[in-house]
Amino acid sequence: MKKFLLASTATFALAGGALAQDVKIGIILGFTGPLESITPAMGAGAELAIAEVNASGNFALGAVTAVRGDSTCVDAAAAVAAAERLVTSEKVDAIMGADCSGVTGAILQNVARPNGIVMISPSATSPALSTAEDDGLFFRTAPSDARQGEVMADILAEKGIGSVAVTYTNNDYGKGLSDSFAAAFAARGGKVTINAPHEDGKADYSAEVGALASAGGEMLVVAGYVDQGGKGVIQASIDSGAFETFYLVDGMYGDSLIQSIGAELDGSFGAVPGTDSDGATRFQELASAAGFDGTSAFAPESYDAAALILLAMASAGTSKATDWAGKVMEVANAPGELILPGELGKALELIAQGVDIDYVGASAVELIGPGESAGSYRQYEIRNGSFETVGFR
């Protein structure tokens, strides 16, 4: 009897040990704060990938669970505390996040590197993150804004626009983007008459617009947020007749802009990350079946980030960060069998058979340089009060 008891206790202990080997992924996004309207879909995207992997039953490392944490998008201290909690008390094996560039950098330096945890961010786009010390632990499925700067300069140069005024939201994102654009535009012979910051959350932007108007330029490049200062600057520019057409960066893409400003916005244009690949449509079908909006900004990138984490783990056969971090680039890039959303089970099978895979995913992932998306953009123009896609870059 004693022996039986001992044996069963030992079995339970072993079973407990096996459970502890299951994989846990922390999803850190700004569920409160300036991005709270898009983060639910981003979180759902990541959880969709996890659910798909669990359902396939092909993931050798056990069941995958997800824990959410709030990055707040703007408060680095709160974001670091949330990440610290996920890593030390929830014992997550990887972090899908964070969303905004500033908090992502803070979590990377204060939590991910000291604890040796891999982070894959779906939406941090600051160029500074390309060169940040990361011990090979940081990746992103979003392109660096250095790339967006190039795309913006290309679009403006093709339209024959020679001089622009630039206003940016005064944070890591806005500053990084406007600087990379200014450099790229100057390299194509364009002239930036003024590169001035604006603060978000103010009621009145007429003073900022006064300075922009004084500097002049054929049009205004607005590197801000659609529900924040960016909209205020555009409204004040139109009211005072300072500018009539605007270039809208990815943060300025949203139906609310057209709703609040109206017909005067016709003729403005811009570009947002996006592809015309099969993956995007496939993902949207999966998303609507799961009950969320697959076209929401950065939701596809979030799905891809979570999928890459799990595929890299499967490929390395372990959830130990130092062992699988090196596999992320391998599974994301050619050569190998192409993997679209909804095919994660197939991908895991191929990995188990030792076949190379090339994860394409929902956002046509191609990781370059220090592990960031090469970035494809959808160029659009506003005509008759709606966004019309004119091409892909």
Partner: protein, 338 residues
């Protein structure tokens, strides 16, 4: 022609926005100055009283538009304004009854009342954000006609290269502010209650001896403050946009206006409002475009000719506040010294 173009640019980007902003500050400063003159403390909750009043007015406006009521080419919010004022007056009277009255009874030092008003400020801000649909949203509740004259129309009408826009809300701000100030002065100078308030402000003991009921004076003051704060808040919100947090930022320019004009002096509050508004706008404006029109071609500036970046707008009010307190603590119109 060049001179006219420059003048139009100046009017469009400096004078008209500055005048509207000045009127909004003046109304706010009048409220601060009334509290200071009669209740004898600096009311830090004033900014959030404005926010509360505006939020209340917005809710009534939504109710009215929901019923299909509109005010033609004028914003419906003007119809909702009296209701907003009534709600705000109820709130400040309740605050006075629950909070300030105790400190008046114990004859607390003014600095204690200032701290108390900061507490009230936080509570009021929270209350404002409890309103359904207000929260942290950016709300634009101006309806009706947007422009009296738009940039394109102006260019076509005059043939000038520069355009001039006058928004309906800017004109309304100036008109409503003028009416409110006229009513206030008539009330303070011509009515019995107004005179008793001024007597109470000049010398509390003498006023009490002559049979003036202090609680009545206090109550009337709060109602006036609520009316001024709500009007200022609604005009600011109509002209710009409403957000529960931004009114807190208005506190500094409003106090600067009241102090520059002379605390406790209503005329000074109005002058102070315009002084602060025009200082903020002119110091942070980039004069390049105006000067390019006005100066001969050889002298046209290459730089922006901007004294301070627009981010330093509030630093301007702060600097003026410090200078006035250092060199003329009683303000331009000889109010009470702090």
């Amino acid at each position: 022609m060049d001179f006219l173009n420059g003048l139009v640019t100046f009017l469009n980007f400096v004078f008209i926005p500055g005048a509207a902003y000045g009127a909004q500050l003046a109304l706010g400063a009048l409220g601060v100055t009334l509290v200071y003159g009669i209740l004898r403390f600096s009311n830090f909750a004033h900014g959030d009283t404005m926010a509360f009043g505006t939020a209340a007015t917005i809710l009534v406006t939504w109710g009215l538009t929901g019923l299909g009521v509109s005010f033609g080419s004028l914003p419906t919010a003007l119809l909702a304004l009296p209701a907003g004022i009534a709600i705000t007056a109820a709130l400040v009277l309740a605050t006075d009854r629950m909070v300030y009255r105790f400190y008046r009874r114990v004859k607390a030092a003014p600095v204690v009342l200032v701290m108390v008003s900061m507490g009230v400020m936080f509570v009021m801000n929270a209350l404002t954000r409890f309103f359904p649909g207000i929260g942290v949203n950016d709300i634009n509740f101006a309806d009706g006609g947007r422009f009296i004259i738009g940039v394109r129309e102006f260019r076509e009408m005059t043939g000038l290269q520069e355009g001039l826009a006058i928004r309906t809300t800017q004109a309304i701000t100036l008109v409503v502010a003028a009416v409110a100030v006229a009513l206030l002065f008539w009330f303070l100078n011509r009515t019995r209650t107004g005179k008793s308030m001024r007597a109470f402000s000049d010398n509390e003991d003498l006023a009490l001896l002559s049979g003036i009921n202090p609680e009545r004076v206090v109550a009337v003051t709060w109602i006036l403050v609520a009316a001024l704060a709500t009007t200022a808040g609604v005009l600011y919100g109509l002209d710009k946009s409403f957000k529960a947090f931004t009114y807190f930022q208005l506190l500094l320019p409003i106090f600067a206006s009241a102090v520059v004009g002379g605390l406790g002096n209503p005329l000074g509050a109005i002058a102070g409002g315009f002084v602060i508004a025009f200082s903020e706008v002119t110091v942070t404006y980039a004069w390049k475009r105006v000067l390019t029109w006005w100066l001969p071609e050889r002298w046209a500036p290459d730089s922006l000719v901007q004294l301070l970046g627009t981010d330093y707008k509030f630093a301007v009010s702060f600097a003026i506040l410090v200078i006035v307190l250092l060199f003329r603590p009683t303000g331009i119109f000889r109010g009470k010294s702090l």
